[in-house]
């Protein structure tokens, strides 16, 4: 006998690659592991307005760049303007509007939909250069030196220096020196200059506080301080450190957020809206926008997608049948007929399906018993049964329509050829072994079909088999493995009970 090693290696490979593919799908593409999962998304509108002077105008506007948020959709609207979105520099995404002549009030819009990624840490792409020390005006020099020296003394590292400094600038009872410095500097600038004085890399960034249904919001200035490969966020205006979930970093370029040439009184306003959307639809949109969409079922037209949703359920039904036959030991009439019946149940729902199936088979058996007296050839008899089955289905559909039972209309989903064969076999079974065996075997098939239906109709299973195709490799591995199972079937334990020894 040949070695089973390659077989087990194959099974293990299938299992591992199936699981890996599914987990990759879930983590890398953010496909939710459970169906119906919802996530929050933010729609942010930026409105840039300025007064045109009749000259050619150029508007350069920084775009949000924040690892904590992923851009799902973005677009800029600006009738009559030339539009370029520049994304070459990873730190400095900008949109550039241009027009030959701008007269009067101009409004330009940029809309973006963002989804939180949960990554609040900002890693530095490269080691920042040590900043040039700030040169203080003569009037501020001593005051600044005293403040810096005092805070420096109370700190141990760059980080603690920044923390202490932020605290000192926002203390309820600030020293004379601080008050003096703040009278001529904004807290942000002051904080930045003092950090630069000690050679600590820091830069000004602007961020937006996201709040549902807010309009006419302005950007808030923050300071990023570099510490051990990471940029940490400080808000010198209120002395807080770190970032809350509702802060969106808009501009980290260190340059101005909005540049307008050929216009005056330029300003930018933000309005925002929180939205709840399906996590699955969102991750599909993200895949689409990232271009990782090429080789997946999602790119099929919707009609084919829904077809595949049905087809991909069959492995589940097949797995159920293999399990119930090989491990449990149930008998079914026709190996995979229960799977086909279960597929129809998905269309008809369980109770309607069961009633419909029993009605059709019962009526079919009655008509078949008449046909059996005619001494027809088997082929023509089955053909006659098929036509009669269609008639029965038509009749039931019509009757249920007349009685206003919309459930009855789904009866047409039963595969007619299968039904005809079922009726034929049941009828022979009836003649050969009596009605008891018909009820037993038919009941067994319906039981397996019902169990297969319950497995196939579970929403999370439907979600998994369509969105995590790797699961099919796992099913394949399980089916192969069960094909090698030489142990006892569950029902054999009962059957062979008398042999179990004293």
């Amino acid at each position: 006998m040949h070695s089973k090693k390659p077989f087990y290696i194959l099974v293990i490979l299938l299992f591992i690659s199936g699981i890996t593919a599914s987990v990759f799908r879930g983590i890398e593409h953010n496909v939710p592991f459970l169906p119906g999962e919802q996530i929050q998304s933010w729609a942010v509108d930026a409105k840039v307005s300025f007064q045109g002077t009749g000259e050619p105008a150029e508007v350069s506007f920084a775009l949000p760049h924040d690892p904590a948020f992923e851009v799902l959709v973005e677009n800029a609207s600006s009738p009559g303007y030339g539009l370029t979105i520049n994304k070459d520099n990873p730190l400095d995404h900008r949109v550039l509007w241009s027009v030959r002549a701008a007269n009067g009030l101009q409004n330009l819009y940029y809309k973006v939909t963002l989804i939180p990624t949960g990554i609040t840490k900002i890693n530095a792409l490269e080691e920042p250069v040590t900043p040039q020390p700030y040169v203080w005006p003569a009037t501020e020099k001593d005051a600044a030196k005293q403040v810096i020296d005092k805070v420096w003394g109370m700190s141990a590292t760059n980080l603690t220096f920044a923390q202490q400094l932020n605290k000192a600038l926002n203390a309820t009872e600030r020293s004379q020196n601080v008050e003096l410095l703040l009278s001529s500097n904004s807290p942000t600038k002051l904080f930045l200059h003092m950090l630069h004085n000690k050679g600590i890399p820091a830069q000004e960034v602007s961020g937006l506080f996201l709040e549902d249904q807010r309009r006419r919001q302005q950007l808030t200035n923050f300071v990023e301080v570099y510490n051990e490969g990471e940029w940490l966020l400080f808000n010198p205006a209120d002395g807080t450190q770190g970032r809350s979930d509702n802060v969106l970093l808009w501009d980290r370029s260190g340059k101005s957020t909005l540049d307008v040439t050929g216009g005056v009184n330029s300003k930018v306003n933000f309005s925002m809206l929180q939205d709840t959307r399906s996590a699955l639809a969102t991750s599909i949109d993200v895949m689409k926008s990232k271009g990782t969409f090429d080789f997946s079922l999602y790119q099929l037209p919707l009609e084919e997608q829904s077809l595949f949703k049905g087809i991909l359920l069959i492995p589940i039904g097949v797995l159920m049948v293999v399990f119930l036959r090989v491990i449990v030991g149930l008998k079914t009439s026709g190996t995979f007929m229960p799977v086909l019946i279960a597929l129809s149940f998905i269309q008809t729902t369980l109770v309607t399906g069961l009633i419909g199936f029993i009605l059709i088979v019962a009526c079919g058996l009655m008509i078949r018993s008449y046909l059996s007296q005619l001494n027809l050839l088997l082929i023509s008899r089955i053909s006659a049964v098929i036509i009669v089955v269609i008639g029965i289905i038509g009749l039931f559909t019509l009757l249920s329509y007349k009685f206003g039972l919309s459930e009855g209309l789904t009866i047409t989903f039963f595969p007619m050829i299968i039904l005809a064969w079922t009726i034929e076999r049941m009828s022979i079974l009836w003649e050969e072994e009596g009605p008891k065996e018909v009820v037993l075997q038919g009941g067994g098939s319906l039981l397996v079909a019902t169990l297969a239906y319950l497995a196939m109709s579970a929403t999370w299973i439907q979600h998994w088999v369509f969105n995590f195709l790797g699961i099919h490799l796992v099913i394949l591995a399980a089916v192969l493995l069960m094909g090698q199972y030489t142990g006892y079937r569950l029902l054999e334990l009962r059957r062979f009970k008398p042999l179990a020894g004293e």
Partner: protein, 320 residues
């Protein structure tokens, strides 16, 4: 009905063979696909048996085409009774037994008359493949009725008792006598309610009996004690079964034989997928016997040597 499950490790210890293991380790491994026709097609089996000097029930005729059905009455004109069966049937499906032919009228064992049109329809169904595996077109065999040996009188109700032997690599390893009952409607199939009596390979004596997988002591219809049975022509039966191995080249084989009053033991059919109820009828698992045969490795024994070996070692009084 109480649901009682056996502990699988106890079953394994008793050497009980399960369906999955049978399919993979015995049928899948020792029954080559290409030889299945020899056992699945009863007409081929019959031909092979005749070529190998194994006695079989008389062949009255074969019906291959629809129009040949008309010839049946003429065919059976001289017979006292006859059996119509599908050549590729399984599990006793599609077998029609006529025990009495009287002036062109046919009667079943229970005395019920069977009309010509019923025969016509039955044969037509056989030809269309209704009873054959996979529904492939089939032929109908018309066989002479077996005049069964009166030794089993009182043990069988209406039908013909048959003797099932499991032959593993040419060694008869387990035997069972199948007796029809009122519940089985004269048929000898255990799942239809026939009684199975485990028979000692060494002596041909009854050991233990079951109906519907439950041990019983007496025949449900005749109340005769089943373990008193002793099968006559036992050596001959063992030899025939053992010969069927060479003939079919199936490593794991079920042979079904009947005892005819006049012709002695006849080979009825072979089975490449014999059921497992024989273990319950014998009150023990079959695996120790199969393992014993495996332990012999490649041997060069003749049919009679194998039978002698089996009688000596697979005797139930002998502890394995």
């Amino acid at each position: 009905m109480r649901l009682e499950f056996a502990n699988p490790s106890l079953l394994r210890k008793s050497g009980v063979l399960g369906m999955n293991k049978r399919n993979i380790d015995y049928i899948g491994r020792y029954n080559p696909r290409k030889f299945y026709k020899r056992v699945d097609d009863k007409l081929t089996t019959k031909q092979l048996a005749i070529d190998n000097d194994i006695a079989v029930p008389a062949l009255i005729g074969v019906v291959r085409e629809q129009h040949e059905i008309e010839a049946i009455p003429a065919m059976v004109n001289e017979e006292d009774g006859f059996v119509i069966k599908p050549s590729k049937g399984s599990g006793g499906k599609g077998i029609l037994v006529i025990t009495k032919v009287e002036a062109g009228r046919y009667f079943k064992p229970n005395g019920q008359e069977v009309s010509h049109s019923e025969i016509y329809r039955h044969v037509s169904n056989i030809l269309s493949g209704l009873f054959s595996l996979g529904g492939s077109p089939d032929v109908a065999i018309v066989e002479g009725l077996i005049q069964f040996d009166p030794v089993f009188d009182g043990y069988s109700y209406e039908g013909v008792p048959d003797i099932r032997l499991i032959v593993y690599k040419g060694f008869p390893v387990m035997g069972m006598l199948r007796l029809s009952t009122a519940a089985s409607d004269g048929k000898a199939n255990l799942h239809q309610g026939a009684v199975g009596v485990g028979v000692d390979i060494g002596t041909g004596k009854g050991l233990h009996a079951v109906q519907f997988d439950t041990p019983i002591d007496v025949h449900p219809d005749t109340n005769k004690k089943l373990t008193d049975i002793e099968v006559p022509h036992w050596d001959f039966l063992l030899n025939t079964a053992s010969k069927a191995y060479e003939m079919s080249e199936m490593g794991y084989l079920g042979t079904d034989m009947v005892l005819d009053k006049v012709k002695g033991p006849l080979l009825l059919e072979l089975n490449a997928r014999p059921g497992l109820a024989i273990q319950i009828a014998n009150g023990r698992g079959i695996l120790p016997y199969l393992d014993h045969v495996d332990s012999l490795g490649n041997h060069n024994m003749t049919v009679s040597e194998r039978v002698e070996y089996a009688k000596k070692h697979f005797c139930h009084s002998d502890k394995l």
